[in-house]
């Protein structure tokens, strides 16, 4: 009887980036027979960079730079070489959601599920750590509207160093260095513009006009969604009220 964990989900496989591959493109030719030997599981496999590194076709995605950034990350620093790409990016199911989806919620969900696969699962967490996983809702209890943030913001937004040249930053920081300053995102020059909202597929709406793009977004970020026109309009109305009052006051003083 086969270990059910080793059975791949065909639908997920078909939706993934490697869907067109034959099993034997990555695995040994012995896999073409079924059932195959259990020891095959121990075969040495290629790493992601064996295909994706140093290839002009993938140059735009900068896999070498990703590797360089990843080596600075807390995952590599604490666990070392055995923390491979596939620990987060399941090679059978991975989808390039952040590049292709235009739904913020979908991008966020897909990205956060990668973190959650270990950070909300002690069995997997203990493979890399000798401590139980921290309770996420507890260590984030300082964060207002926690649930809403988790649903609409990727973990990596606060837990990585944003690198402009990469579409997704891979230098996951130790928790002490995570971003805890609300105004980094909740402001006119929101950091989210440099991370989550940097994708063309989300920004394409921006080209239709700022107000349009804002009102069609599923979320609202206080401080970050400022509309120059509305800002100026409100300031003008306020000043007009003040001018009206001043004129009235001056006449009052003169006529006294």
């Amino acid at each position: 009887m086969m270990n059910p964990l080793y059975i791949l989900n065909k639908d997920h496989l078909a939706a993934g980036v490697h869907a067109k591959f034959k099993c034997t493109d990555c695995h040994s030719a012995d896999y073409s027979k079924y059932p195959h030997n259990a020891e095959l599981k121990l075969e040495p496999l290629s790493t992601c960079l064996d295909c994706h590194g140093g290839d002009a076709k993938y140059a735009a995605y900068k896999f070498e730079k990703i590797d360089e950034e990843f080596q600075k990350s807390v995952h590599f620093q604490k666990v070392g070489e055995s923390f491979t790409c596939s620990k987060c990016h399941n090679q059978h199911y991975y989808q390039a959601k952040s590049r292709n989806s235009s739904e913020v919620g979908e991008i966020v969900g897909f990205s956060n599920d990668m973190c959650m696969s270990c950070h909300s699962n002690n069995n997997k967490f203990l493979l890399f750590s000798n401590k139980l996983k921290p309770e996420l809702s507890q260590i984030h209890d300082w964060l207002p509207n926690q649930e809403l943030h988790f649903k609409n913001v990727r973990c990596i937004e606060c837990h990585t160093v944003v690198v402009d040249s990469l579409s997704v930053s891979h230098n996951i920081l130790p928790k002490e260095k995570a971003l805890k300053n609300c105004v980094e995102c909740h402001s006119k020059n929101s950091m989210l513009e440099a991370s989550l909202y940097k994708y063309k597929n989300i920004q394409s709406r921006t080209e239709k006009g700022k107000l349009n793009s804002i009102i069609s977004n599923k979320s609202y970020i206080i401080g970050a969604y400022q509309n120059e026109w509305l800002n100026n309009f409100s300031i003008i109305i306020f000043l007009m009220a003040l001018v009206g009052i001043s004129i009235h006051l001056i006449i009052r003083i003169i006529k006294k």
Binding site: P144, E147, L148, C182, H186, Y220, F238
Partner: protein, 209 residues
């Protein structure tokens, strides 16, 4: 200061409500501006503190509104808020004319205040709008934003949370305009500070206004 010219307009519950409301609204406007116009280079106060204060004082205003609403319902104070629609425009024009010209010519106010009339027509309309439309609107949208999971996600492809937030900010802006005008109009009296004293001790001096 004879007692005949003074009317006990503002009972203690009303003054307590007004005091709490005034203080809370000031904090809400200050913290609200800090969030709405948030900018990394310019901030009035820490964002997190602004959020927390805005939540606390928002809830304070909500509970306090119940005091106003119930107080107004249970006492005779409600009679001052009754609005007769017939001839309202005419009465409003009379009041506007007084504020923009009559008062400078030392004319008598068209609607002198007495035991039966605490507000002139302009005041009555503004206070009704402020207390029965603006503030409840702010409370409802504010509570919705405090529990954003209650907001409908999408209304005709418009983000529900966005619409709620914009409505909340716009009503808040109108309240800030109300506040400025309210404070200024309060300074119109025999002495600019008379009305401010009234809302503290409860007695309104009708001889000058």
């Amino acid at each position: 200061m004879t007692s005949e010219s003074k009317i006990y307009f503002y009972p203690i519950w009303l003054r307590i409500w007004h005091g709490i409301n005034a203080l809370s609204i000031l904090v809400l406007i200050f913290t609200g501006i800090n969030m709405q116009y948030a900018n990394q280079n310019f901030k009035l106060m820490d964002f997190e503190l602004a959020v927390n204060l805005h939540n606390i004082f928002g809830i304070t205003v909500t509970l306090n509104y119940l005091l106003f609403f119930i107080g107004n319902m249970m006492t005779s104070n409600k009679k001052y808020y009754r609005l007769k629609m017939k001839g309202l425009i005419k009465r409003l024009i009379l009041q506007v004319n007084y504020y923009t010209s009559g008062m400078f010519k030392n004319e008598n106010p068209p609607f002198p205040l007495n035991e039966k009339r605490k507000f002139n027509p302009m005041q009555k309309v503004t206070y009704l709008l402020a207390m029965y439309i603006l503030v409840p609107g702010l409370i409802i949208t504010g509570l919705a934003l405090l529990f954003p999971e209650t907001i409908i996600e999408e209304v005709y492809s418009l983000s529900g949370i966005f619409m709620t937030a914009v409505l909340h900010a716009s009503l808040g802006f109108l309240v800030s305009i109300f506040l400025v005008i309210h404070l200024y109009v309060a300074s119109i009296g025999k002495h600019p500070l008379n009305n401010f004293k009234s809302i503290i001790d409860g007695y309104h001096d009708i001889s000058g206004h």
